[in-house]
Point group: T
Chain length 159, copies 12
Amino acid sequence: MAKVRVQVLHGPNLNLLGTRDPAVYGTTTLAEIDAELARRAKDRGVELRSAQTNLEGELVELIQQAKPWASAIVINPGGYTHTSVAIRDAIDAVGLPTVEVHLSNLHAREPFRQVSVTAAKCIGQICGFGAQSYYLGLDAALAHVESTQRHGQKRQRRR
Amino acid sequence: MAKVRVQVLHGPNLNLLGTRDPAVYGTTTLAEIDAELARRAKDRGVELRSAQTNLEGELVELIQQAKPWASAIVINPGGYTHTSVAIRDAIDAVGLPTVEVHLSNLHAREPFRQVSVTAAKCIGQICGFGAQSYYLGLDAALAHVESTQRHGQKRQRRR
Amino acid sequence: MAKVRVQVLHGPNLNLLGTRDPAVYGTTTLAEIDAELARRAKDRGVELRSAQTNLEGELVELIQQAKPWASAIVINPGGYTHTSVAIRDAIDAVGLPTVEVHLSNLHAREPFRQVSVTAAKCIGQICGFGAQSYYLGLDAALAHVESTQRHGQKRQRRR
Amino acid sequence: MAKVRVQVLHGPNLNLLGTRDPAVYGTTTLAEIDAELARRAKDRGVELRSAQTNLEGELVELIQQAKPWASAIVINPGGYTHTSVAIRDAIDAVGLPTVEVHLSNLHAREPFRQVSVTAAKCIGQICGFGAQSYYLGLDAALAHVESTQRHGQKRQRRR
Amino acid sequence: MAKVRVQVLHGPNLNLLGTRDPAVYGTTTLAEIDAELARRAKDRGVELRSAQTNLEGELVELIQQAKPWASAIVINPGGYTHTSVAIRDAIDAVGLPTVEVHLSNLHAREPFRQVSVTAAKCIGQICGFGAQSYYLGLDAALAHVESTQRHGQKRQRRR
Amino acid sequence: MAKVRVQVLHGPNLNLLGTRDPAVYGTTTLAEIDAELARRAKDRGVELRSAQTNLEGELVELIQQAKPWASAIVINPGGYTHTSVAIRDAIDAVGLPTVEVHLSNLHAREPFRQVSVTAAKCIGQICGFGAQSYYLGLDAALAHVESTQRHGQKRQRRR
Amino acid sequence: MAKVRVQVLHGPNLNLLGTRDPAVYGTTTLAEIDAELARRAKDRGVELRSAQTNLEGELVELIQQAKPWASAIVINPGGYTHTSVAIRDAIDAVGLPTVEVHLSNLHAREPFRQVSVTAAKCIGQICGFGAQSYYLGLDAALAHVESTQRHGQKRQRRR
Amino acid sequence: MAKVRVQVLHGPNLNLLGTRDPAVYGTTTLAEIDAELARRAKDRGVELRSAQTNLEGELVELIQQAKPWASAIVINPGGYTHTSVAIRDAIDAVGLPTVEVHLSNLHAREPFRQVSVTAAKCIGQICGFGAQSYYLGLDAALAHVESTQRHGQKRQRRR
Amino acid sequence: MAKVRVQVLHGPNLNLLGTRDPAVYGTTTLAEIDAELARRAKDRGVELRSAQTNLEGELVELIQQAKPWASAIVINPGGYTHTSVAIRDAIDAVGLPTVEVHLSNLHAREPFRQVSVTAAKCIGQICGFGAQSYYLGLDAALAHVESTQRHGQKRQRRR
Amino acid sequence: MAKVRVQVLHGPNLNLLGTRDPAVYGTTTLAEIDAELARRAKDRGVELRSAQTNLEGELVELIQQAKPWASAIVINPGGYTHTSVAIRDAIDAVGLPTVEVHLSNLHAREPFRQVSVTAAKCIGQICGFGAQSYYLGLDAALAHVESTQRHGQKRQRRR
Amino acid sequence: MAKVRVQVLHGPNLNLLGTRDPAVYGTTTLAEIDAELARRAKDRGVELRSAQTNLEGELVELIQQAKPWASAIVINPGGYTHTSVAIRDAIDAVGLPTVEVHLSNLHAREPFRQVSVTAAKCIGQICGFGAQSYYLGLDAALAHVESTQRHGQKRQRRR
Amino acid sequence: MAKVRVQVLHGPNLNLLGTRDPAVYGTTTLAEIDAELARRAKDRGVELRSAQTNLEGELVELIQQAKPWASAIVINPGGYTHTSVAIRDAIDAVGLPTVEVHLSNLHAREPFRQVSVTAAKCIGQICGFGAQSYYLGLDAALAHVESTQRHGQKRQRRR
């Protein structure tokens, strides 16, 4: 069975994690999350890469660059979640199974945060569990990839 | 540390699981999901109960009855997700940490499925991973309860 | 003059009264409210019955069953207030003068609580006074019935 | 050719038929409608069962229970027509050809009655003809079943 | 009892019936539908005329011209259903009982097809049963006319 | 215990009461309502003042002037209910417990009457009971003031 | 036949007429319009009074004061046209036939000027003809009053 | 001074005038209105032509044909008022001063009648005065033409 | 390879081209555009026919009549673009590749011009280039037909 | 260079400043703000007048009265900001450069406070800086007037 | 006559062309499109430069940099079309004639793709013709530039 | 007292200032504004840095980088004002007092410019005064910082 590889992508302001409004986002830093993700991936024999950017267009490019390497993407598009057709199109175009994660519960915040432009092109969405959202997102991505490999066929992305 | 107990609640039509539109909902039956949840809970020394109902008001009552027993709730409110103020109020009133799960990716279906009336009173929401959504939901609930117990204080529900 | 009879109906989650979010709903229990209503009714020579249910359809049936017995209804449809065409139709169909009451001030909460589907078929609505809303509702219902009897004609419900 | 069986389902407040607002709903009672439907079914060699409930969740269950027995469903979801995702999902899940009927002309009443959440998962909708809506609905269902049987293939429900 | 006469009116593009998108509209031609309607009318001793036009204003005129002759109208306004105030006004002005029919289930198509500007001035609407919609529409119109004649009074159109 | 004082404020067109559309507003005049309010206040040892104005800005000033004198306000803002941010701000600024009353059932009239800009800054709202709305409003205000005095603390206005 | 009397009412900023944006409102002053109206009224044996105010509440009072004297009102509510429920209620309450006039063509300006809260309670509306709108409004009011007197019955205001 | 010529255009269903819903539209026939308009035009030395059509496209053509002949247009676009971009464009393209008239008070009817697509390209709009709306419309058109001629310059249409 | 034939269709008011608002639509007449289209078609060995009509229903019929003759349609539906379901249905029903063109840039005009009801059933849309829009439309249609013929298969219309 | 004169206008409830909700509006009183404005004006050789009113119509009149005297207006329309077409029209009609100021940050409060009906006719808007908003507003007005005088031409108001 | 120069700009994800969803976007790569554009430009003696970027802000800068060099821009803003005020402002600010092109028919896809924020500041828009959209866009730009040069005046951009 | 430092941030297209549409934005260049800001800051003993970028994500990063250095931010987010959740989140996360400025009066332009996504997380907003908006913004920021330092406590940002 092919080596499984996961690309983790962090969107705008996530580099501030642990310093920003801890009541909403917790005190864990992004480096700590990436370390924990790396540890969990290693335990399961999975390769994992992480990247953060504050630029919408760079998220588009990171998604495109994941194409030849990754089996799946775990992405937190941050503030671009609610408006970015470009990221939606990138996820759709590269066709990798993608899991959207958010630290906070979008449904309990400003109304505009309840609309996700990007989630429709992902397998699913996980929100509200702080750093746990990433770990659950990794589990979801891996379960999806394993299930697809087991069935010997690329499970079609749901649109 | 107190015994952890999780109440799993399945809403309308979930009793049909495995027979209904497998392209959208998969072939796993509800009994299989409940068995897998029970197995996972047992592995982690957690008590778990499951119940399914097609009635909105009975979901309200099952949430109320979980109050004195459960440490957390994992709920799939099914079609009531999008309109039920009564279930929202019940989750809010009993004050148990609650995780909302959905089999399908609500963001990739009819527009009315993207609004969740109930999720704002939950810790978070997981959707799109088929039966995995439940297993991730159990993990999310347990991680939340453990974190709360570790900090020796009831972590406040996010509203 | 005919004996006056009032049916009091409590909707979903009102059985939790006194335990739920006291800052919003106060500390009085439903049993205490029912006892006070009974005491006030008795003082005025009025028969009074109370019932609570968490099921929308049972509220519909309780309204229907009030028809042959009651002179008026005092109802708190709880979370069903904002969506239930079935309860609206039941109030309209039985044709009894009905007073809608709410413990909290709906106008000061989430936007969706400001729309009442049911109130248009009631005589009027009272909200925001905690347990007092029920007592004022009883007074309103009795004043209405007495005025109707005095004028020797069924005062038409306003639509 | 297989015996044809039709399940008729009446939603909330339809038990009041003939007593409620005759200017809108006519004077025929539900028992009379069921008797006439039975007579017509018998004339055509068709089995017919009727049921009425005021509970949304029981409508869901009656639809589910029709699955192994019925060739088609004729349903009047009453006030649940305009909000019930659960009934919509049930109709979709059991996959029986379903005809939605309404006594009154929904297009000539309150604006909220013009949206049907359930009709999209039915074959079609008939409204405005009083008790006749049911008889026409039975004809529509039978014509559909016969046409399907004639073509020796389950005609796909239109979505 | 006066001779019953029914005017059938077909709106834009219905002349293409049988050639247009058979998956949605079936393979029956308009001539076949008109022939079947004529046969059914004759069987019941009813006069029936049919006309088709692609022009909104000609539908207005055909409705006006039906006034002195017809007992009822069966109309499929096609694409004009969703915007034509002129046809709505014509139906309202001539005051003949009118049944609106559609081949396809409007509720299962584009959102703009779920609004009918014309149906509010008709007795009722039937949609989704292919050519059967016309036959059911004829039955509905005749049942209405017979019921009106039996009660010896022009049954008022519902608005 | 401090002397309780209530300021009653009547908005635009209420000076016409008893002459305007009696089917909607009843035949009682404003003078009769004020007399009855005065009588009821006197019976309970409460001081009461009434004022009517047709000017939005004068309502603002009457609310401001009530500040140093009154324990509570009972207000019917009439047509300004649905648009006046200035009255909302005045109620909010003076901080007196305020009860909003309306003669007619706003929920059964034009859609624009169902939005109250002012009610969110009041304790609650009472509508639909004709002159009784004022008497119930007085009772609600007094019950609120008494409850606040009993608890020896200014009960916080709900926002 | 009774003496005909017309009350002309000018709303906010109309006192600036002739000085304000002549490209939109023309160069005629309000005094000139009132003089021309007086001349035309006198020619037809009609009494006419004019008043201008910048205060919404004073327009309400001027409408109320017209009641015992006037046969009809010609009103330009200016900027209050688009929001004033109080003026709408005043027109409705006094029950005098009222003609709404506007100097500019509301349909060719900002979108918010196309909604008139007040016109629904008037006989009709005339807009776009500069000072002529007033003269046409006077003609419309007189034609209405004469027609009503001729038919010896108060023609009911249209709602 | 050039001879003044006015083209009067009647839209759909106006040929039914006097027969249609007299409570809303009065008992005067279209022929009577045209005769009265002709009489008034003749009295003022003005040429006047009238035409009625039920077809939107024919209204477009009648507007175009008025161009070389008429000084002004008085038009009642009937049901096309609320949707016809084609008529709006025709009025705009020919550039003749145009007065829009309506028999009924559009502001007091269904909400969709309050939007006029065509009025923005006219000088102004007159509605609610029955047949008088036409006579006032003629006066408005003539006053406009005379004022333009007096100022020796084509007064620009207001957009 | 089959002879290529293109039907050009001009909607309402396009017969006025060159006379109407030259700042928006230019000074070229429709005859000049048709001549230029004919010249270009001839150069490429393509048959071309043009037709103009101001009637929505005639556009429907012209589309239908193109079916047996044309390889493609170039259409400017003018003011009907924004509302005509009938034209949309006609384009959809005949199934010919259709290019929608507009002289002006719809995105830079009134908001209602930005919605095209018809474009969704065309291959694509070209707007803003004056007469050039037609010439580009012809090029687009021909490129599409040639590409389809080259691939020896009817390229499916995009919906 | 002409003497510069500034009219400061305070709208409803601003007389309560310093007593009302200090967390939102600060503790400075209106008298203190007026004194500081006067001091600053004097320092710059500018005449300054202040006025406060709770009445919308009086704000209209104060704006009109500023016309012959003032070089500019600094206005806080308070609660009328969000609805007053009359104030908008007054600012537009007198044509004086006007600066709109608000103590609180409107963008961080209720959604309805983010729409300003009046600001479109002002030079600009300043909000969120407490009493400083007025001082900045004075600076903005003076800078505008000086710039206009320097260029020896009335700078056109932006619409 | 000055040398004509065209800047072609490709927005986000267009670098994936030929690999992404060929059913929607075709199999031609971006390099092939650029080569074809270059060939066509060369044939017509026109200079042409192409650039692609996935970053919104870089599109802004590429538009700005085109200013001193280019005679016109052909741009496909991709997913930024529907939200980017910054790109709209850039097109507006540099003032070069700009043609917006899209490969797919935006009107046949998700509703949010039918709104173009950028097109209002372009000459026009071409969508739906795959790679042909670019070639038609080049033709449109060149025709525009030539026409402008012929008339010896910078044709004003339409807003 | 600590040295005060202000970071000035200019968003997209502001580098074009003085060249772009002077009627709307004036003729001052960005360099001139920065020079004037620097001069004013120096006069008051304040350090000031300026930066401009056309990239949304770089604005996010510039805001983040201001954190350890600046006492306050003056920002003109340009076209990103109306959509950027990422910039809103950055302002919120770094927690520096931020003043939003705009050259033009947003309330007098396209409707979409009246919504600011970013302003809710700033202290306040200043718009409409051309280059003066920046100078007033600097004053506002300094007044805020001084007031905060004087009170010896970080004044809480208003949300």
